[in-house]
Amino acid sequence: MSYQGHFRIWRGDVAGGEIQDFTVEVNEGEVVLDIIHRLQATQAGDLAVRWNCKAGKCGSCSAEINGRPRLLCMTRMSTFTEDDTITVTPLRTFPVIRDLVTDVSFNYAKAREIPAFAPPKGVAAGDYRMQQIDVERSQEFRKCIECFLCQDVCHVVRDHEDNKDSFAGPRYLMRIAELDMHPLDEMDRKKQAQDEHGLGYCNITKCCTEVCPEHIKITDNALIPMKERVVDRKFDPLVWLGSKIRRRENV
């Protein structure tokens, strides 16, 4: 039932660090986070890791396991053999703070740059009416637990530090799509998605969708439809004409 597992864990801080080898007990039904906790309690009291809910609901314990972005709490030991060596490293896209903990403030900065929900004018609280079918699209995106695995895996920023300024990343492009598809949001978000948040950088390789622990179809349901809406707005002559007419009315 239980065995001694082989782990390699990156330990260090902003000044540098290295992979360290550990041999540690593994029991039936455990996940990688259990092993990290056992290491803390028995061999490395100061091993830094973020975690909260231990049930895949809070998105705190993101790291890379054998090079793949994963939640430590949702990666079961039974997916490995007893002979496997399991390598755990911090998210690569964000600066390391210590051990498995990285500085994810990039994501909070991007969150602040997305204009908030624009509530419908003249509709009082309590009078909001929406159909289930109309809220479901945005609801899918609101399942996001902000684990930032999609932000970590996206090659636009993973491999190109200098893109970070102009690219919000899949999580926040999806946030724009969520607001754009909100039945009562009053802001037109297409132009800002393209011009200010770097939607055009996304070349739909679907890496974000692949790593999403909530199985949100980020590319198919958020990013591609958003790209289509942007294109419609930019090139559709009818849309162009409509926007001119509306503008005139406002004069």
Partner: protein, 635 residues
């Protein structure tokens, strides 16, 4: 930064805790014009509120128009076995709908009814479908909505003041170890940043405690590492009192297998949507456990219970939907009687009750959780579940209207506050509690700060020296214990000796051990340095866990009856005389000992007591209390 150097920040209102109550309090304080700091032990948006699944209770009447605040109040009092602070239960029931509707203006997207309103679902102890929900991830929706509302206020501040953080700032991964005082008045809060290990003092005349619960004192719990009773202990050390700490809610359905997920919550919505509990003999045992006080509201046969889902007007609800304390005790008894499931729980089955697609739609995160963590497909087979420590009804004693504690400048809202839920909380009443009293805390704090007219209390340097000394002590200890070991022993002791069913000799044993834990917790040693060092963080949290555990144990020993989240093996019945008694814990000035005293439960106002009929009141009140009621119809 040198060892003892301290960052300083100055705010009007400091909110400790960034869950539902803390964020709602901060929004209100900011709207009242206060410069507000939010202190979050984790990253922003990770608070334990995300774990809430079922929904927010609010009598909007969208699904059954007969619902109103009076019915909600009545259900809340019944659920709490009449020990609730009646004014809190009243405010909560009255204001919950406005707090939910307000979330929609912040951008929340609840599930809808056919006519486009917010959908509401059935839940244990609620007479009508009352819980606004988003599938089974309502807590996530709540936290994200409040988080995004704060971002939107920061965007306004950027526009108006040129700085996102001009009026409201989130300090994340920051833990508070002590409150600062100027005489009795709150002067601020001291703590450290987890990321850097830097020390910090927030100077502020008003502090809102919104730190959540105490679950990490127990071994099997649905609570995360943050739930170490910080606010309870901070409040008590500052001179506030803790109310009714004996009442700890064991949620009836936590996962029991595999061991690594033991305790993780299985939402009550499974039962609200039709799931049933069976023992190893396949029997729906809850029909054997309907207590006298609830016989009028619950079905006597499986047929009737099943009919209720489609025709609630003419049938009574199934007993799987009894309040949580009743269901947890029943499961405990079945397992003890040898009728449990293979891993020591009972079976919770929704697979034979709803079509697979419907289950995945209504309970997506449960499906996901069992599939990925236990290899169980809940659309095809039953789950194994058992009780898990989930919530503490006890907490800081507050004024219902302002949430002010007895310490000037100190406020408390959400799980850390006591009184609202009496001896047992109904499912769904937590998220609404966070919003209703979070808002009131922000308002109360703002009014208090306004009343000071700029004459703010000051942090004393000598006090600062003391709290710095405490925080850094674990690094200076030459020979000391491993904090993880003490924590595990503490959890085991509380689980075994002050758990669901309590015996006086076991509680006394726990108290003796706690005395030693208290001593041992002062002599822990941690390895490494201050930057993101979980061993150090735990070492500092231990002190809080020991204090709240002592309060739980002392109160549990004192209350010689069984009621809600407190079951005594030697006093198995509810006792009307004890209904009149609140147990209150505090520190005598300068002492680390827990001082326990009895005080009367506030009277239920005549217009509120008139919401119940006499025969129901007879189950809860003493003869003398009944005789004092007016003659005839109470209304």
């Amino acid at each position: 930064m040198s060892d003892r150097e301290v960052q300083r920040h100055r705010y009007d209102v400091v909110v400790i805790g960034a869950g539902g109550a803390g964020l709602r309090a901060a929004i209100e304080a900011r709207e009242q014009g206060m410069r507000t700091a939010i202190i979050s032990k984790s990253l922003f948006g990770k608070a334990h509120t995300v774990m809430a699944e079922g929904g927010i209770a609010a009598s909007m009447g969208n699904v059954n128009a007969r619902d109103n605040w009076q019915v909600h109040f009545r259900d809340t009092m019944r659920g709490g076995k009449f020990l609730n602070n009646p004014r809190m239960a009243e405010l909560h029931a009255k204001e919950a709908p406005d707090r939910v509707w307000e979330l929609e203006t912040y951008g929340a997207l609840f599930d809808r009814t056919k006519d486009g309103k917010i959908s509401q679902r059935n839940f244990g102890g609620h007479e009508y479908p009352r819980l606004a929900h988003v599938g089974d991830r309502t807590g996530l929706e709540l936290i994200r909505t409040l988080q995004q509302k704060i971002v939107s206020m920061q965007q306004d501040d950027l526009r108006d003041h040129g700085d996102y953080e001009a009026m409201i700032r989130v300090f994340d991964e920051c833990a508070i170890t002590d409150l600062m005082q100027d005489g009795p008045r709150v002067a601020g809060a001291f703590g450290y940043f987890r990321e850097t290990g830097d020390l910090v003092v927030f100077e502020a005349p008003a502090v809102v405690l919104a730190t959540g619960g105490i679950g990490k004192s127990f071994k099997v719990t649905s609570n995360s590492w943050e739930y170490t009773g910080d606010g309870h202990a901070l409040g008590m050390r500052a001179g506030a009192s803790l109310l009714n700490m004996e009442f700890v809610q064991f949620h009836p359905t936590g996962m029991v297998w595999p061991p690594s997920v033991k305790g993780i919550l299985v939402t009550e919505s499974v039962r609200g949507d039709g799931g049933v509990l069976r023992n190893s003999e396949g029997k729906r045992f809850m029909f054997d456990y309907i207590p006298d006080v609830f016989t009028k509201q619950y079905a006597e046969s499986e047929d009737e219970g099943d009919r209720w889902y489609s025709d609630p007007e003419n049938n009574k609800r199934p007993p799987e939907l009894l309040p949580r304390d009743e269901v947890a005790r029943a499961i405990n008894s079945e397992v003890k009687a040898g009728r449990g499931s293979p891993h020591g729980g009972v079976f919770l089955d929704v697979s034979t009750r709803l079509p697979a697609e419907e289950i995945k739609k209504r309970l997506p995160s449960m499906w996901h959780q069992f599939k990925e963590l236990a290899d169980v497909d809940i659309t095809k087979e039953p789950m194994e579940v058992g009780p898990t420590c989930h919530y503490v009804m006890g907490g800081v004693e507050v004024d219902p209207d302002t949430t002010a504690a007895s310490v000037p400048g100190l406020f408390a809202a959400g799980e850390v506050a006591g009184g609202m839920h009496g001896s047992n909380r109904l499912g769904g009443n937590s998220l609404s509690d966070l919003l209703v009293f979070g808002r009131r805390a922000g308002l109360g704090a703002a009014q208090y700060v306004g009343s000071l007219g700029g004459r703010h209390p000051a942090v004393r340097e000598s006090d600062l020296d003391d709290v710095i000394g405490f925080a850094l002590q674990p690094f200076e200890t030459e020979v000391g214990e491993n904090p993880y070991e003490i924590h595990q022993e503490l959890q085991q002791a509380m689980q075994d000796l002050v758990g669901i069913i309590r015996r006086p000799e076991e509680i006394e044993d726990a108290l003796a051990r706690l005395e030693k834990f208290r001593e041992r917790a002062t002599k822990v040693k941690v390895v490494g340095h201050r930057q993101f060092n979980p061993g150090w963080h735990l070492a500092l949290d231990l002190r809080n866990m020991v204090i709240v555990s002592e309060c739980v144990a002392k109160s549990a020993l004192e209350r010689q009856e069984s009621r809600g989240g407190h079951t005594r093996d030697d006093f198995p019945a509810m006792d009307a005389d004890w209904r009149k008694v609140n147990l209150v814990c505090s520190h005598a000035p300068g002492s680390v000992e827990v001082d326990l005293k009895r005080q009367p439960v506030p009277d239920i106002r005549a217009d509120l007591i008139a919401l119940f009929d006499r025969s129901e009141l007879a189950k809860y009140l003493t003869e003398a209390e009944l005789a004092a009621l007016p003659e005839g119809d109470l209304t």
